[in-house]
């Protein structure tokens, strides 16, 4: 059974068919990339999976369960984490607090227990901090631990967002253009992290990416989309050689 199964997914905004009949499945432990020109509907697919958009048609199954009817705040609990193309962080909080917020669904203490600061609360807090410190170490964010997000450079904020997603402790992580706006060196680092996520953390990675060198380096399979429709699915090399994909990127109509 696949970890994530997307079946005939579609969302229409008025007359605009942003996503129109996309199906794919992501196997456990796989790195799966979605590519396509701007406006192809890649981020929209992410927003459908994270339940921010309501699909017009189709279904999404995760871990054997239909999640199409769930709310956006239910998704983290199931083990799906994500980043955003335009970085959505808690800007007036520190890096550490942003990562700790990723632990929200794992907090089981009640309001009264929190107020009384019972041993159970302290124990749980220590566990969350330990978990978050592992993430900080993994992403080498030590120097920024207590810095406010608002003052950090773009590249660091991008990494913090990955960190918050990892703090959730997910099975599946959705990365929306993890390399956009990054230098060649930073992109190389992202590639290492993705490989480590899969190998050491046992994560499944679904990413949207424009940087083909990153896609080629880390992904097992690639789905190309254009105008909300799937073009080709297969190995990175096969998909890039596909005539429809070439046509979509060169701007000529495939038909």
């Amino acid at each position: 059974m696949s970890l994530l199964e997307v079946n005939d997914l579609a969302v229409h905004f008025g007359g605009v068919k942003a996503v129109d009949g996309v199906s794919f499945s992501v196997e456990s432990g796989e790195v799966f990339a979605i590519i396509g020109p701007n406006g192809a509907g890649k981020s929209t697919i992410f927003n459908l999976i994270s339940r921010i958009y309501e699909p017009t048609r189709g279904s999404i199954r995760f871990d054997g369960r239909d999640i199409t009817g769930l709310k956006a705040h239910d998704i983290a609990k199931l083990g799906i984490a994500r980043t955003f193309q335009n970085i959505e962080l808690f800007d007036h909080s520190t890096v550490l607090d942003n990562l700790l917020m990723g632990r929200h669904t794992h907090r089981s203490t009640s309001f009264v227990e929190d107020i009384l600061f019972l041993p159970k609360v302290r124990r749980e807090e220590r566990d969350h901090r330990r978990h978050v410190e592992e993430v900080i170490e993994f992403l080498e964010l030590e120097a920024y631990r207590n810095k406010m997000i608002a003052g950090l450079p773009y590249g660091v904020r991008k990494v913090v967002e990955i960190g918050r997603a990892l703090s959730i402790g997910p099975k599946l992580i959705l990365l929306d253009e993890p390399a956009s706006g990054l230098s060649v060196e930073e992109t190389r680092e992202v590639a290492f992290w993705i490989e480590d996520m899969r190998r050491d953390m046992g994560l499944t990675v679904l990413m949207v990416e424009h940087d083909m060198s990153l896609v080629n380096q880390v992904s097992d399979r690639v789905l190309a989309v254009a105008n909300g429709r799937p073009l080709a699915l297969g190995s990175p090399a096969d998909v890039q050689a596909h005539p429809d994909v070439k046509a979509a990127y060169l701007g000529t109509e495939a038909a």
Partner: protein, 292 residues
């Protein structure tokens, strides 16, 4: 000197009430990214509900039961307002919320007027008319209670937002709703809770107001002054709101005594203008300049 001290203590108590209403503005500004112009009227309604439950000519409950019950009822009113009305405006321009809450204020005033009338009424309290003397200064027990309750409530709210799971979730949602959703915060539910909380805080402010003088359905206009207090403090900051309230509360009587004419009535807005010109983000600004 004694006279000044006397004025400052009275002003402090007044300022606490402005501060509590201002806290309500800040809570809702954080939750719904807009201003609730019915905040003053929620304060008024809360005070009247306490009066309706507690006064001997009305339901005649003991003061210690009537007030908490009024707080709970107004929590429900605030929660319900978000649930039923404000939620429909999700994604609309901020201005929609402004108009909606102004209208809501009229409704609250009308409801209070039709139940309790427009003649000023006095809330019966166990400590009415009690005073304490220290040196040459007379301090009313009502003033002391206003100051004490505000202090406790502010600390409680601070602890709620700093330490509890739900309080942290509310902070997260106020900073970035999208990010809050994806870490698992039920943003809508949190917003309802914040509206409830601001109804409860407004009621405490209203009851404190009513312990110090008669109330009528128009006392909610005090909300405008409290709004000035919230702006002085920097609209997004709880301690800032309280400080803004205290500044206005103290300036008013002092200006009334020492400054000419009607200056006292203008003073809150003059301070607000001064703050906005010199520190546009308020005294406790949460908006940082973007590096270019």
């Amino acid at each position: 000197m004694t006279e000044l001290l006397q004025l400052v203590i009275g002003g402090l108590a007044n300022g606490c009430i402005y501060g509590l209403v201002a806290l309500g503005f800040v809570l809702i500004y954080k939750a719904s990214e807009g201003v609730n112009f019915a905040q003053g009227d929620m304060m008024m309604l809360g005070a009247f509900i306490a009066l309706g439950l507690g006064n001997s000519e009305q339901l005649g409950m003991p003061f210690a039961i009537a007030v908490p019950l009024a707080v709970v009822i107004m929590f429900g009113v605030g929660w319900g307002v978000e649930r039923v009305i404000v939620r429909q405006l999700f994604g609309q321009p901020q201005f929609a919320l402004v108009i909606l809450t102004i209208a809501l204020g009229f409704v609250f005033r009308f409801v209070a007027g039709s139940i309790w009338g427009y003649t000023p009424l006095v809330l019966e309290t166990p400590f009415a008319g009690m005073n304490m003397r220290a040196g040459g200064i007379v301090i009313s027990v009502a003033d002391l209670i206003a100051i004490g309750v505000t202090l406790v409530l502010t600390v409680a709210l601070w602890a709620f937002f700093a330490f509890t799971r739900i309080g942290l979730a509310a902070q997260a949602a106020s900073q970035n709703q999208m990010a809050a959703y994806i870490v698992g915060v039920p943003v809508m539910r949190v917003n309802s809770l914040i509206w409830g909380l601001s109804g409860a805080v407004a009621t405490v402010g209203g009851v404190l107001y009513a312990t110090r003088g008669a109330i009528d359905p128009n006392i909610g206009l005090l909300g405008i002054k409290a709004f000035a207090a919230a702006v002085i403090g920097g609209l997004g900051s709880l301690p800032g709101a309280l400080l803004g309230g205290l500044i206005i509360g103290i300036i008013e009587p002092v200006a009334g005594r020492y400054a000419p004419g009607e200056f006292a009535k203008m003073s809150p807005y003059i301070i607000m203008l001064l703050v906005l010109v010199t520190r546009p983000g308020g005294l406790f600004s949460q908006i940082q300049m973007k590096k270019v």
